[in-house]
C-alpha cells in the first residue's frame, strides 16, 4: 500500500475514532519498498489541500524518511512553468512529495493505534483492519 493511503486511515474501533490519538496510525517494524510510478501532476495538485499535513510529518519522521517542511506547501509551489514552451516542470518539493506519497509502499509490518494500542498487520502490502470478536 502506498503511503498516501495512511493519510486517510485511522483505528477501526469506533470508540477510538473520536480521539485525536487514533490518527495517524503508527508504523512498526515495517518493510518499505519503492515502486516507481509516473509523476501525476494533476492528482498531486488536487490531493494536497486534502492532506492532514501534520500526520504526514509524523509518519515521515517515524519511518526515518527525509523530514517535511513545517507547513503544507502551496499548490502553486508544485511546478514552475517555463516561458518558452509553456510546459510545467515539477519542483523539488513536488518530486519529494510524489516519492513519499505515491512511490513509497509498505510491504510488511504493523500499524498501531496511538489511542488503544491495537495492532493492524500489513502482509504483502495489504493491511487488515478486521476487528477481533471482543472489540466489535
Amino acid at each position: 500500500m502506498k503511503l498516501l493511503t495512511l493519510n486517510f486511515l485511522t483505528c477501526a474501533i469506533k470508540t477510538c475514532k473520536s480521539s485525536p490519538l487514533s490518527f495517524p496510525l503508527h508504523p512498526r517494524e515495517v518493510e518499505l519498498e519503492i515502486l516507481e510510478t509516473d509523476y501525476n501532476a494533476v492528482f498531486l495538485r488536487n490531493i494536497l489541500p486534502r492532506l492532514e499535513w501534520e500526520a504526514l510529518r509524523v509518519l515521515a519522521g517515524e519511518l526515518g524518511l527525509p523530514s517535511l517542511p513545517e507547513s503544507s506547501p502551496d499548490v502553486s509551489s508544485l511546478s514552475t512553468s517555463s516561458e518558452e514552451d509553456d510546459s510545467e516542470t515539477p519542483t523539488q518539493v513536488a518530486q519529494d512529495l510524489h516519492r513519499l506519497l505515491l512511490e513509497t509502499c509498505i510491504k510488511e509490518g504493523k500499524l498501531v493505534c496511538g489511542c488503544c494500542g491495537h495492532e493492524y498487520a500489513v502482509k504483502e502490502g495489504v493491511a487488515n483492519f478486521l476487528l477481533p470478536g471482543h472489540l466489535v
Binding site: M1, K2, L4, T5, F8, L9, T10, C11, A12, I13, K14, K17, F23, L35, T37, D38, N40, V42, F43, R45, N46, I47, R50, E52, L102, C105, Y120, K123, E124, G125, V126, A127, N128, F129, L130, L131, P132, G133, H134, V136
Partner: protein, 478 residues
Amino acid sequence: MPDYLVRLVQVHESFRKTELQSLADLNRVEIEFVKYAEDSPFCIVRLSDDAAARSVITRNILSYGIYELWGQGVDYDSLHASVKQMSPQIWAQYHKSPFRFTMDSYRGSRSMLEQFPIIESFAYLDFKGPVRVRDAEASFTIFEDYEHNGPSPKYLYLGRFVAASGRQAKTTYDLKKRHYISTTSMDAELALLTANIALAAPGKFFYDPFMGTGGFPLACAHYGAVVCGSDIDGRSIRGTGGSARRGQTGKKDVAMNFVQYGLQSRYLGGFVSDLTNTPLRIPTVESGAGYLDGIVCDPPYGIREGLKVLGHREKLEDFERQTHQDRFKEAGYIPPKRPYSFTAIQDDILAFASDTLVEGGRLSMWMPTANDEDVELVIPMHPCLELLSTCVQPFNKWSRRLLTYRRLPESEVSKDAMEYAKKEYEQGVKASELNDFRRKYFEGFREFEKSRQEGATSENFSEAKGLRGINKGNCSCN
C-alpha cells in the same frame, strides 16, 4: 447551437442518456436532448460545437460515435430536401477535402450494389476532393432506421463524422481476458459505464468499499482516477482464495490486474475492512470536508456473496469474549462475522458517502430488486445526497439498478432534514430474515410468478412494469 446525431448502441437503454449527460457534466458543456427514444439507437442532441461533441463522446461506452447532423427525413426525398435546406453554407468547407460516404442500416441491410446509387444521389453536394476509404478528412454516413423486418427504412439521417466513442475499452477490459476475476466480477462494459456516470477522471480520488477483484477501481483508473479499495474478504484482494477461472493455477491478485492494464501507478492499494467498522477517517466539522471524489460499488446482495459485517449472531458470553481476547493474535485467528440487514448496508453506504465525499462528489451504487413488488420501490436517500439518476438492468424475475447521487454542498443541505427519523431495519440473526431480496430470490420469486399468472399475459405484465428487453442469458448476480 448545431444539432448532432449520436449513434447509440441498443443495449442497456436506460443508461444511455445518463451516460451522455454525465460526460457533458464532466466536461462542463451544455447538452440538450432534442430527440431520444429508448427503442431507437439514433439520438439528436444540441451542443455548442465539434469540440464539445468530441469531449462528450470520446469516453462514451454506449455509443459508436457522434455526427454533425446534415439532414433527416422519412424517405430519401425528404432527406435530400432537408439536407439542401439545412446545410448548404457548410458544404463549401469540404469541397476540396478527401472524403468518403458509408451507410449504416439499423435492423436492415443494403448490398454494395444498392448502396452505390443511394450515395450517388448526394452528388449535388458537389465534393471535388478525392474519395478516400481510409483517413478521409470528411466522412459522411447515411443512417437508415428500419422497422423490425420492415421492407424499407422508416427514417433517414445524413451525418458528418465528428468523433468515435470509447467503446473499444469494453474489449480491452473484457473479463475473459482479465488475469484475475471472481464469480461476482462486474461485466467490463457496466463497470466502465459506472465509472463514467460517477465522473472518474484524471486527478480524482476514487474508492470502492466492496472491491472484490477490483473491477470498479480498474475502470475508474482507466479514466485517470487514482483509486483504492477494500473488502471484508482479504482473500479476494490477496488472491489467496484462488481464481474463479477454470483450470487457472498460480498466484493472481488485484495488484496484478492493475499491472495487466498498465495502471499500477494509479492504484494506491487495497485493504481488508468492513464498512460498518471502517478504518477510513471520517471528517468532522472541525477537521474539514471530505476527501473522496467518488465512490463506486456493487455491494453484496447476499446471494452469491454473503452480506456480512463484523460481529456475532448472538450476544457473546463472557467466557467467549475472553477466548477471543486471548487468541486474536494467533496466526490462524479469523474474526467472527454475522449476516447484516440489506437496507441497513445501503443506508450505511450513503452515510459514509455523505461524510467522505467532497462537495459535488458522486456515489454510484448498484442495488438489486425483485420485479414482483407491488409496493413502491424504496430508493435509499440521505439529506446530504441528491439522487441524480436511476438506471435499470432488467433480468427475468429481478433487476438491478445503478443509483447515482451527488454530495450536496453544505449550503444546500437542509438543516431540518438532518434530523430525520431513525429507520427501523430488519431484525433477526439469519441472512434471509435480514434480507428480503435474498429470501425472495431463493423462493424463486414465487410472488412474482403468482402475479404473473393472475395477470392477463406475461407480456402485458412486463410492459406494465417497464421491463423491455428481458435477458435470460445474462443472469449474473452478486
